[in-house]
C-alpha cells in the first residue's frame, strides 16, 4: 500500500475482494489500439468519479532473489512522471485522493475526485504510464519508507512475521512462497535504478493494464479522454507469465517457533483451488461454515464450549493461482497447543463425518449475498470488482458470481472438505510464547 494514511482500506490482502457483486451492474467496454482495456460504469447518483488502473503484475512475478520489488515499485509510481514532477499535488488541487495496493497477483491504483475534474486524473495516470521520472532521490527515500513499512507491519508487531514463516512452509516452488513486502529487508535495500527501469519497461504497459472509470461519467467522454491521453502511449510487448505450479503436497509439514509474545498462536493452511476453478465457491462456503463469525463451528466449539481458544476463524486466500485455506486461532493461556490443535481437528472430523445441514448452508449463502450487496454501495468497490473480473477473463462474473454461490450444494461442500482438509495437505505453524 502506498500509504497507511487513509484508514478506510476497502480490501484486505487476503481475498475479501473476492466477494463479487450481486444485482446487475451495467458497464461498457472498449480497447485502445495499444491494447489498453477500458471499462466504463455510469452511476449518476454520485458527484464523484473514480479511475481504477490495474496492472497485471504482482509479487508472484518477482525474481526469488529480488522479492518485494512489485510493492516497492508501487511506491515509486508516486515519485513523479516524465512530464509531471509531482503526482499528488495536482490531484489534491483538483480535490482528489488516491491510493494503491500490491498483492501477490496484481498492483492496483485508484483515484477518487470530483467528476468535473475527471480529465486531471487522465492526465496524471497517462503520464506515469508513459514514463516515470526515475529520480534517484525518490528511489532512496521510498526504499527507506518501505523498510519502515516492513518494520511497522511485520517485525515490530506481535505475530507480525507469522505469514513470513507460513508462506515458505506451504509453497516450495510457486512464488506465493514470499509475501508482497518481500522475503527480507535486504532485497529492498539492494534495489537499483536499473532494476526499476527494467521493471517499468517490462510490466507498465497499456497492453498489460485495465482501466475502469466509474461514477458520474459518460461512455463517450471517457472514450474521448482515453484516446486523447492514453492512445499515444506505445503498446510494448505484453509480458508472458511463466510461473511454476506448486507440486502436490504429500506429507504434513510442521514448524514451531518461539517468540516474545504473551499467547500461543496456531495456524493451519491447506492447499486449495485457484480463484477461477469450478470448486472455488464450495471451498469458500466451507471456510464460512467453519470459521466466519460467532455462529461458525470453530468459534462455537472452541471459544465458547471448550474454551481452548480466545479467537479462532477460517478464511480462503482467494488468490489467482492455487490458494490457501486458512484456519488461525490464539490459544487460551493455560491450554497446551497440542490440545488446542486437537480441538480444531475434532471440529473438522465432525464435519467430515456428519456433513452440513441445509439450514447452515443457507446461512453462509445469505451472508455471502449480503456482503455482495453491501459492496455495491461504493463506486470504488464496483470499479475494482470490474477490473478484477476483466483480468480474470470473465468480467460478467460481477453479475454471475452469486448464482454460482447459490448453486453450491451441501454435498459439494462436503466433497471439498474431504479434498482439502487432510493433514498431508496441511502446513501447521505453532507460534509459541518463549518460556
Amino acid at each position: 500500500m502506498k500509504s497507511n494514511y487513509q484508514q478506510a482500506v476497502l480490501f484486505t490482502l487476503q481475498g475479501t475482494y473476492m466477494f463479487y457483486l450481486r444485482s446487475m451492474i451495467s458497464y461498457s467496454r472498449f480497447t485502445l489500439e495499444n491494447g489498453l482495456k477500458v471499462i466504463v460504469h455510469e452511476d449518476p447518483s454520485t458527484p464523484l468519479a473514480c479511475i481504477n488502473i490495474l496492472y497485471d503484475v504482482g509479487a508472484r512475478d518477482e525474481h526469488p532473489d529480488q522479492t518485494g520489488f512489485a510493492h516497492l515499485f508501487e511506491h515509486l509510481m508516486f515519485g513523479g512522471s516524465v512530464n509531471i514532477p509531482s503526482y499528488d499535488t495536482p490531484l489534491q488541487e483538483a480535490g482528489g485522493e488516491n491510493n494503491a495496493f500490491t498483492n501477490n497477483d496484481i498492483t492496483n491504483y485508484y483515484i477518487t475526485l470530483p467528476a468535473q475534474n475527471l480529465e486531471t486524473g487522465f492526465w496524471l495516470e497517462s503520464d506515469r504510464m508513459l514514463s516515470l521520472a526515475f529520480s534517484e532521490k525518490s528511489l532512496e527515500v521510498q526504499r527507506s519508507v518501505v523498510i519502515e513499512e516492513f518494520k511497522q507491519r511485520y517485525l515490530n508487531q506481535p505475530y507480525g512475521d507469522e505469514w513470513l514463516l507460513l508462506r515458505p512452509l506451504a509453497y516450495k516452488v510457486h512464488p506465493y512462497q514470499w509475501a508482497t513486502i518481500g522475503k527480507e529487508i535486504k532485497h529492498i535495500e539492494d534495489a537499483l535504478m536499473d532494476d526499476v527501469r527494467a521493471f517499468f519497461n517490462r510490466f507498465y504497459l497499456p497492453s498489460n493494464a485495465i482501466m475502469v472509470v466509474a461514477g458520474d461519467v459518460k461512455h463517450d467522454e471517457v472514450k474521448r479522454l482515453s484516446e486523447k491521453w492514453f492512445g499515444p502511449i506505445p503498446s510494448g510487448n505484453r509480458p508472458l507469465r511463466d510461473v511454476p505450479s506448486e507440486p502436490k503436497q504429500t506429507e504434513a509439514r510442521r514448524l514451531t517457533v518461539n517468540r516474545d509474545v504473551p499467547t500461543d498462536s496456531i495456524t493451519k493452511v491447506y492447499h486449495m483451488s485457484a480463484r477461477m476453478d469450478a470448486e472455488y465457491q464450495a471451498q469458500d462456503l466451507l471456510s464460512d461454515v467453519l470459521g466466519r463469525g460467532q455462529s461458525a463451528r470453530l468459534f462455537n466449539a472452541l471459544v465458547k464450549d471448550e474454551q481452548l481458544f480466545t479467537d479462532v476463524s477460517a478464511h480462503v486466500s482467494g488468490s489467482f493461482d492455487k490458494g490457501l485455506f486458512v484456519i488461525n486461532g490464539r490459544v487460551k493461556n493455560g491450554v497446551s497447543p497440542e490440545l488446542a490443535e486437537a480441538g480444531i481437528q475434532r471440529v473438522i472430523d465432525d464435519l467430515l463425518a456428519n456433513g452440513i445441514p441445509e439450514q447452515e448452508l443457507i446461512k453462509v449463502k445469505n451472508k455471502a449475498e449480503s456482503t455482495h450487496v453491501f459492496g455495491e454501495v461504493s463506486i470504488l468497490n464496483k470499479a475494482m470488482n470490474l477490473a478484477f473480473g476483466e483480468l480474470l477473463g470473465d468480467i460478467e462474473m460481477v453479475n454471475t458470481e452469486l448464482a454460482k454461490l447459490h448453486a453450491v450444494t451441501s454435498a459439494d461442500v462436503l466433497k471439498q472438505a474431504q479434498n482439502i482438509l487432510r493433514e498431508e495437505n496441511c502446513s501447521t505453524l505453532f507460534y509459541l510464547k518463549s518460556e
Binding site: L48, Q92, N117, N156, R330, N366, S370
Partner: protein
C-alpha cells in the same frame, strides 16, 4: 498518433457547493427520536441505536465497554449462540460500538430480512441477561488480548496519550490488568439498567427506506416502554492538569518507536475549530502535508505520519501520531518541532493554502458518498452539539481563511511548551 501537450494540465473546475442531503426526523409513538435518510439503489439498511453510555460514564472505562459487548451474550429467550445465528441466518451484521461519549447497537441488514433482524435488536435492548458463563469467557479472553496489545508500541502510546492529556477528567479514565479482574457482573447489570432503555435511545436509519420500513420500526420499537430519556452529553468542566511535558515509556526490543505529540483543545462549537481543521491539515492531514513531505517523503523515517484534531462532546485535542525507526527517533522529533515552529514563524503561501482548501472540499464531497456515509456525517454533528448547517459553515470557513489567520492560530495553539510529547520504544 498526436501526443497531447502534457506540460499543460487540464483546466480545474472548483467545487462550487457541498449541499449534503440531511435526514428527516420524527418520533415513534413512545417518543423515541428517529433520524431517517433514504438514499442509494441497493436494498440495504443500516439501523443504529445510540445511547449516552460511553466510557466516560464510569470511573472504570472497561465497565461501559463490557456492558455494550455483553448485550449479544444472552437474553431471556436466547443464548449467545442463538443470537449469533439469528443475525447470521439472515446475512445481517451486528456491531456493538463504544466511544468516550456514546455507545451504539448497529445492524446492517438486507431490506427483505429487516422483519427478521430488527426484533433481535429490540430483544438485546430490553431483555439482556448478562449470563455468568459468557461473562467469564469474555473477560478472560479480552484480558488475554489486552496483554497482546501491550506488545504494540502504537497501542501503548495511544492509551497513555489519552490518559495524560485528560488526566482528572472522565475522558482520561485509565485501566490496567487489575481493572479487568476487579469488574463484577453486577456492576454491568446496574449500568445496563441505568443507561439502556428503549426510550433512552436515538435511532439513526439509513439506506433505501420505504413506508414499510417506518412501519416496521414503529412496530418493533414504538410500543416499548422505558423509564429513561436520551441523555444529553455530560458537561465536563475543563480541569487543568499538569504533567512533565516530555514522557517516555521504554521498550528495549522496539525497532520502531511510537511518537504522540499533542494538547487539549476544544469541542466542535469553538470559534477556532474550523481554522484548526485547516491548520492541522496543512501540518499533517493529507498525503502532501508538511509532516508527510518532510518526515516520510524527504527523510524516509516512517511509513506514515499524521496530525489532526478530534473532539468529544465536552472537550477535544490536537495530535501528531507516527511510528518511526528507533534509530531515527530523535531526528524525527526535531523535524516535527521544526515544522510546527515554521507554522508559527512564517505565513503559509497562497499556493499551498489554495491546494489544501481544494483538497479539503474534495474530501468533504467524498465523505458524503452513499447513505451510510451521509448519515455518519449528520450523526457526528447532531450528537456533538452542532446543527446541520455545520457543513455550510465549514465550507465557508475553508474558503475564507487567510494565511494571516492560519499563522495566528499556530501562535495561539501550537506553542511548543504547551505540547505533550510521548515516546514509546527506544531513542
Amino acid at each position: 498518433m498526436i501526443h497531447p501537450n502534457r506540460l499543460v494540465p487540464p483546466t480545474l473546475h472548483p467545487i462550487d457547493s457541498v449541499n449534503p442531503q440531511m435526514p428527516e426526523r420524527y418520533t415513534l409513538s413512545n417518543g423515541i427520536e428517529v433520524f431517517s435518510l433514504s438514499a442509494g439503489s441497493q436494498d440495504v439498511m443500516k439501523v443504529e441505536l445510540v445511547f449516552g453510555a460511553g466510557t466516560s460514564h464510569h470511573e472504570n472505562p472497561l465497565l461501559p465497554s463490557f456492558t455494550a459487548s455483553m448485550l449479544q451474550e444472552g437474553t431471556h429467550s436466547k443464548s449467545a449462540s442463538d443470537i449469533a445465528s439469528a443475525i447470521d441466518d439472515f446475512g445481517a451484521f451486528l456491531e456493538l460500538d463504544i466511544d468516550k461519549d456514546y455507545s451504539g447497537i448497529t445492524l446492517y441488514s438486507l431490506n427483505k430480512y429487516l422483519g427478521n433482524t430488527l426484533p433481535v435488536i429490540s430483544d438485546l435492548l430490553c431483555n439482556s441477561t448478562f449470563p455468568d458463563h459468557e461473562w467469564e469467557i469474555m473477560r478472560s479472553n479480552r484480558l488475554q488480548k489486552y496483554t497482546v496489545n501491550l506488545g504494540k508500541v502504537g497501542f501503548v502510546a495511544g492509551k497513555r496519550f489519552q490518559e495524560l492529556l485528560f488526566a482528572g477528567s472522565p475522558y482520561g479514565t485509565t485501566f490496567d490488568e487489575n481493572d479487568y479482574k476487579s469488574l463484577q457482573i453486577d456492576g454491568l447489570k446496574n449500568f445496563y439498567q441505568q443507561y439502556y432503555s428503549p426510550t433512552s435511545a436515538k435511532i439513526f436509519l439509513s439506506g433505501k427506506i420505504d413506508s414499510n420500513t417506518s412501519q416496521l420500526l414503529e412496530d418493533t420499537f414504538g410500543q416499548l416502554t422505558g423509564k429513561g430519556t436520551f441523555l444529553p452529553p455530560i458537561e465536563i468542566p475543563f480541569v487543568g492538569n499538569s504533567f512533565e511535558r516530555k514522557q517516555f515509556i521504554p521498550k528495549d526490543d522496539a525497532i520502531q518507536s511510537a511518537i504522540r505529540i499533542g494538547r487539549r483543545l476544544f469541542t466542535k462549537t469553538h470559534p477556532d475549530y474550523f481554522g484548526m481543521k485547516v491548520l492541522t491539515t496543512i501540518l499533517g492531514g493529507y498525503f502532501g502535508s508538511r509532516l508527510m513531505s518532510n518526515i516520510r517523503e524527504d527523510k524516509g523515517y516512517t511509513y506514515g505520519i499524521g496530525a489532526g484534531i478530534l473532539s468529544y462532546c465536552s472537550d477535544g485535542y490536537f495530535y501528531i501520531s507516527t511510528e518511526v525507526g528507533s534509530d531515527v527517533c530523535t531526528f524525527a522529533l526535531n523535524e516535527i518541532y521544526k515544522e510546527i515552529a515554521l507554522l508559527r514563524d512564517e505565513m503559509v503561501s497562497d499556493e499551498e493554502l489554495d491546494l489544501v482548501k481544494s483538497y479539503m472540499l474534495g474530501s468533504l464531497l467524498k465523505s458524503f458518498e452513499g447513505p451510510f456515509e451521509r448519515m455518519e456525517r449528520f450523526k457526528n454533528c447532531h450528537l456533538f452539539g452542532v446543527d446541520e448547517r455545520y457543513f455550510q459553515r465549514y465550507t465557508q470557513a475553508i474558503r475564507n481563511i487567510t494565511p494571516i489567520q492560519i499563522q495566528h492560530l499556530a501562535k495561539v495553539w501550537l506553542q511548543e511548551e504547551d505540547l505533550l510529547e510521548l515516546v514509546v520504544g527506544k531513542y
